[in-house]
C-alpha cells in the first residue's frame, strides 16, 4: 500500500478532490498547512509595522491506495492542481505497511479495495 501526500494551493483542493472522485477515489484526508518554498510570501503592515511572512497557506491531502493505482492518483492531482506558477506544490510517495478500518476491523489491501467506489 502506498501513501500519496500532495501539497497544493488551497483554492485547488476542491478540484483535486473532484478529480480523485472521478477515479472512484473517495477516501481522502485533508490538512490545512502552511508552506514555504519558491513562492514568495507577503510583506504585511499593521499600524505601519512591517511583518514579512514567508509561509503561505497550503492544503495537504493524503490518500492511501493500492500500489498499482499510484500513477493514476499522481496524474489526477497533477492535472487538477497545476497552474504553472510558483507554489503549485509537491507530491510525496511513500510506503505504508498496513491499514486497518476501525469500524470493521478489516486490514490491508482489502480496506482499500473496499473504499474505491461509492
Amino acid at each position: 500500500m502506498i501513501k500519496v501526500e500532495a501539497i497544493v494551493r488551497p483554492e485547488r483542493i476542491r478540484d483535486v478532490l473532484d478529480a480523485l472522485a472521478e477515479e472512484g477515489l473517495f477516501g481522502v484526508t485533508v490538512y490545512e498547512v502552511k508552506g514555504s518554498g519558491r513562492q514568495k510570501g507577503f510583506v504585511e503592515h499593521y499600524r505601519g509595522l512591517e511583518i514579512k511572512v514567508n509561509v503561505l497557506p497550503k492544503a495537504k491531502l493524503e490518500i492511501v491506495v493500492k500500489d498499482y493505482r499510484v500513477e493514476e492518483v499522481v496524474d489526477a492531482i497533477k492535472s487538477a492542481a497545476r497552474t504553472g506558477e510558483m507554489g503549485d506544490g509537491l507530491i510525496f510517495i511513500s510506503r505504508v505497511d498496513d491499514v486497518i478500518r476501525i469500524r470493521t476491523g478489516e486490514r490491508g489491501d482489502e480496506v482499500l479495495a473496499d473504499i474505491e467506489g461509492r
Binding site: E11, F42, V43, E44, H45, Y46, I51, N54
Partner: protein
C-alpha cells in the same frame, strides 16, 4: 416663553436629533460586520476599511455639497452664525449625513471582494454630491417636486409623495444605485462555473448576526428621529418599526426554513419596508408590510443571485432596492384611513415617487460608474482577486497571528 425654557426646548430637540444620529451612525458598525461576515476571510479587512472611510468621504461631500443642494443651507459662516438655536441645523445635518452614508455602505455590500479601492470610493462620493441630494431635495428638501406640500404630485394627486424615513429616498435609491455598480463589475471569480451557481462560503455567521443587531438597534434612531422635533415625536413610528421588523423575521424564518442569515436579513427587510409609512400606518399593517418585505427579500435574493446570476454579495439590491420600492408603495396602500391609517397619502403619488427614485438612482449610477470604469477600471485583476483585497489593497490579513508562523 422665557428664554431659558426656549433654550431648554431647543437643546432637547437637538438632543433628539443627535440621539437619532448617533444610532444611525452605529448602523455603520452594522454594515461593517454584516459585510465582514458575508465575505471570505481574504476580504474582511477590506470590508472594514471601506465602510469607515466611506463614512468619512460622505461626511465631507455632504457637508460641503450634498446638504446645501438638498436644503439650501450651508455652513460657511462663522461658528456663531451657523449654530443658532443651539446648532439645530448642524444637528439636522449630522442626522441626514448619516442617512446619506447608507448609500456607499450599501454599494459596498454588493461589490465586495473584487472592487478596486479608490475608483469605487470616488464614484460613491460623486453620487453623494449629485444624484442623492438631488432626489432628496425633490422629496424632503427645497425642490419639493415630489414630496412638498405644494409640489407637483401634491397638486396632481391630492397628496404629496410620502416617505417618512426613507424607504425610497435612502434605501431604494441606495439599492438601485448599487445595481449598476454590481453589473458593471461582474461576478466574483468562480462564483458561477459553466453557467452553474457555485456559492462561495461566508466567513462568519456570528459577524453577520452582530452586523444585523447593530443595524436593527440603530434603525430605531433612523425611523423615530425622522420626526426631527420632539413635538412631532410619535410612539407609533417606534411600534410600527418594531412590528415590521418582527414580520420580516418571522416570514424569513418560515419561508427559508430557519436559515440564520436570511432571518437576520429579514429583520432588516422589514425595517426597510416600513420606513416610508411608519408614521401613518396601523401597527398591524406594519406587521404585514414587514412580512411582505421579508418575503420580497428572500425571493428577490434567490432570483438575483441564482437565476439571473447577479453576484450581489450581500443581496443589497433585493434588500434595499426591491424592498425599498415595496416600502414606498405600501405606504400608499396601508396609509389610508380606510385601512386604519392616518391618511393624507395617495397611491398614485407613492408609485410615481418611488419609480422616480429607483429610476434616477439607476440611471445616475450607471452613468457615473460607467464613466469611472472606462477611466480607471473598477475591478482587481484576477490574480489580485484570487489573493484577495486584504493583502492586495491593505497589505494585511484579518487574523495576522493565526496566519503567521
Amino acid at each position: 416663553m422665557d428664554t431659558s425654557l426656549q433654550d431648554f426646548m431647543n437643546g432637547s430637540n437637538v438632543l433628539f436629533l443627535i440621539w437619532g444620529a448617533v444610532l444611525v451612525f452605529s448602523m455603520h458598525a452594522g454594515f461593517a460586520f454584516l459585510e465582514a461576515g458575508s465575505v471570505r476571510k481574504r476580504s474582511v479587512v477590506n470590508a472594514f476599511t471601506r465602510i469607515v472611510t466611506d463614512w468619512a468621504a460622505t461626511a465631507i461631500v455632504y457637508f460641503f455639497i450634498g446638504f446645501p443642494i438638498a436644503y439650501g443651507i450651508n455652513f460657511l459662516g462663522s461658528a456663531a452664525e451657523i449654530s443658532s438655536a443651539q446648532g439645530f441645523d448642524l444637528a439636522h445635518f449630522f442626522f441626514l449625513m448619516a442617512f446619506a452614508a447608507v448609500i456607499p455602505a450599501v454599494i459596498s455590500g454588493g461589490i465586495a471582494e473584487r472592487a478596486k479601492f479608490y475608483p469605487y470610493m470616488i464614484a460613491s462620493a460623486i453620487l453623494i454630491g449629485t444624484v442623492y441630494p438631488f432626489f432628496e431635495s425633490m422629496v424632503w428638501g427645497q425642490l419639493g417636486t415630489l414630496g412638498g406640500a405644494d409640489g407637483f404630485l401634491a397638486a396632481t394627486f391630492g397628496a404629496p409623495f410620502h416617505d417618512f424615513a426613507g424607504s425610497v429616498v435612502v434605501h431604494a435609491v441606495a439599492g438601485w444605485i448599487a445595481l449598476p455598480a454590481i453589473l458593471l463589475l461582474g461576478p466574483r471569480l468562480l462564483r458561477y462555473r459553466e453557467g452553474k451557481s457555485t456559492p462561495l462560503p461566508v466567513s462568519s455567521v456570528p459577524y453577520i448576526a452582530l452586523g444585523s443587531w447593530f443595524l436593527m438597534i440603530g434603525w430605531f434612531g433612523f425611523n423615530i428621529a425622522s420626526a426631527v422635533t420632539l413635538d412631532a415625536m410619535s410612539g407609533l413610528v417606534a411600534v410600527n418599526s418594531l412590528l415590521a421588523m418582527v414580520g420580516g423575521i418571522l416570514v424569513a424564518n418560515f419561508i427559508s426554513k430557519r436559515d440564520a442569515v436570511f432571518i437576520h436579513n429579514g429583520a432588516l427587510a422589514g425595517l426597510v419596508a416600513i420606513c416610508a409609512g411608519s408614521d401613518i400606518v396601523h401597527p398591524i399593517s406594519a406587521l404585514v408590510i414587514g412580512g411582505i418585505g421579508g418575503a420580497v427579500f428572500v425571493k428577490g435574493f434567490l432570483y438575483a443571485n441564482e437565476k439571473w446570476q447577479i453576484d450581489d454579495v450581500l443581496g443589497v439590491w433585493p434588500l434595499h432596492g426591491l424592498v425599498g420600492v415595496w416600502g414606498g408603495i405600501s405606504a400608499g396602500i396601508f396609509g389610508v384611513t380606510s385601512m386604519g391609517g392616518l391618511g393624507g397619502v395617495s397611491l398614485a403619488s407613492q408609485i410615481i415617487g418611488t419609480a422616480a427614485g429607483a429610476g434616477i438612482a439607476f440611471a445616475g449610477s450607471y452613468l457615473i460608474f460607467g464613466v469611472i470604469k472606462r477611466l480607471a477600471g473598477l475591478r482587481l485583476t484576477p490574480q489580485e482577486e484570487q489573493i484577495g483585497p486584504d493583502l492586495i489593497v491593505h497589505r494585511s490579513r484579518a487574523y495576522p497571528e493565526q496566519e503567521m508562523v
